[in-house]
């Protein structure tokens, strides 16, 4: 059965770098990275609308690293529970999985807070189609990664190869909540830095290590993506 398309508020495309102007943000994933990320984004006065997209429900095993949820939220949709917990009218919960049929809100930037490649590839496709940036992020065990993805810059294949596989996910390898907090903070920091520096901002993949408390980055070559994504 086809889904009814929503009527989203008007897009303010291109406003991200105009500090002080309204900005529309989509965060895909309301879990360990997405929930602190949403909290941080709400501190940005420029954020006018913030869509939180997640089709998952709160499970008991989420609680140690997703402390915005309580026992009373078990079984609730994460996106709705997060909106309820934070009580900010700018948050629009969307209880869906991103994929081919997903109706994307009119975002100026998309934050990836998922734990799987199909969702990241869907985010990348949509961001490139619209010519907007997105922020890649991931965490497993004590390690995290974050990259700011410009529409004409390196793509996922440039960073990780054309067939990176699914890799370890947190339900297989475990993850530490404070590491996901650090990853969310780095995702906010790269978006802010790009806001400040615009096209002068270098493409970098940030690597975080919770064992040592270290952060470093790999500079990505300043060239067009050859993968046609």
């Amino acid at each position: 059965m086809p889904k009814a398309r929503r009527s989203w508020p008007r897009c303010t495309s291109g406003a991200l770098r105009s500090t002080g102007k309204a900005m529309n943000v989509v965060v895909v994933g309301a879990g360990a990275i997405g929930s602190p990320l949403v909290c941080g984004l709400l501190q940005w006065p420029e954020v006018e609308h913030l869509w939180v997209v997640d089709g998952d429900r709160v499970e008991r095993s989420n609680l140690p690293r997703q402390p915005w949820y309580q026992l009373a939220d078990l079984g609730q949709f994460k996106a709705a529970a997060l909106a309820n917990a934070l009580g900010d009218r700018r948050i629009h919960p969307v209880v869906e999985v991103v994929g081919e049929a997903f109706s994307w809100p009119p975002a100026d930037i998309v934050f990836d807070a998922t734990d799987n490649w199909p969702a990241r590839q869907a985010i990348q496709r949509e961001a490139r189609r619209r010519g907007i940036p997105w922020v890649f992020s991931s965490a497993v065990r004590w390690e995290g990664q974050v990259a700011f993805m410009r529409p004409q810059g390196p793509c996922l294949a440039c960073l990780f190869g054309e067939d990176p596989g699914e890799g370890l996910r947190c339900f297989e390898a475990g993850v530490v909540g404070t590491v996901t907090l650090a990853v969310a903070g780095q995702a906010l920091a790269v978006a802010k830095a790009w806001q400040a520096h615009g096209e002068q901002w270098e493409d970098r993949l940030y690597l975080l290590d919770g064992r040592t408390g270290d952060r470093w980055w790999v500079r990505l070559p300043p060239r067009e993506c050859p993968h046609g994504t």
Binding site: R60, P67, G174
Partner: protein, 117 residues
């Protein structure tokens, strides 16, 4: 002390991490952490540490600090933006990882960090 079924379910992903495991989770659940400093990070640290299973006591202060048990302490200045969130997450992670390395070996060690710099 043993974990019941609900606790096993709740902390399962955390215990999958090699440095934590079952013994580490038991140590976390029996350890008091003191957190002091300005908001918002005092409350954020408290929220994350409590969720991991620690018992947490909070108090106000000018400089942010965490004391894990009697011997492990981290103090720092945190900015109020994404950098502050990242530094909070990384600092707590390192402190917990180092502490776990000691307690699961049966010792308690002593360590005092100032911003890890």
């Amino acid at each position: 002390m043993e974990l019941d079924r609900n606790e096993m379910d709740q902390y399962s992903r955390q215990m999958l991490v090699d440095e934590i495991g079952y013994e580490g989770q038991l140590a976390i659940l029996s350890t008091l952490v003191r957190v002091w400093g300005p908001e918002p990070w005092r409350q954020w640290a408290s929220r994350y540490l409590t969720a991991m299973g620690f018992s947490v006591e909070e108090s106000p202060g000018e400089k942010f600090g965490v004391a894990l048990g009697d011997h492990w302490r981290w103090t720092t200045q945190l900015s109020s933006d994404g950098d502050g969130m990242r530094e909070l997450g990384l600092g707590l992670s390192r402190l917990i990882c180092d502490w776990l390395g000691q307690v699961t070996e049966g010792g308690h060690g002593t360590c005092e960090y100032d911003s890890f710099k």
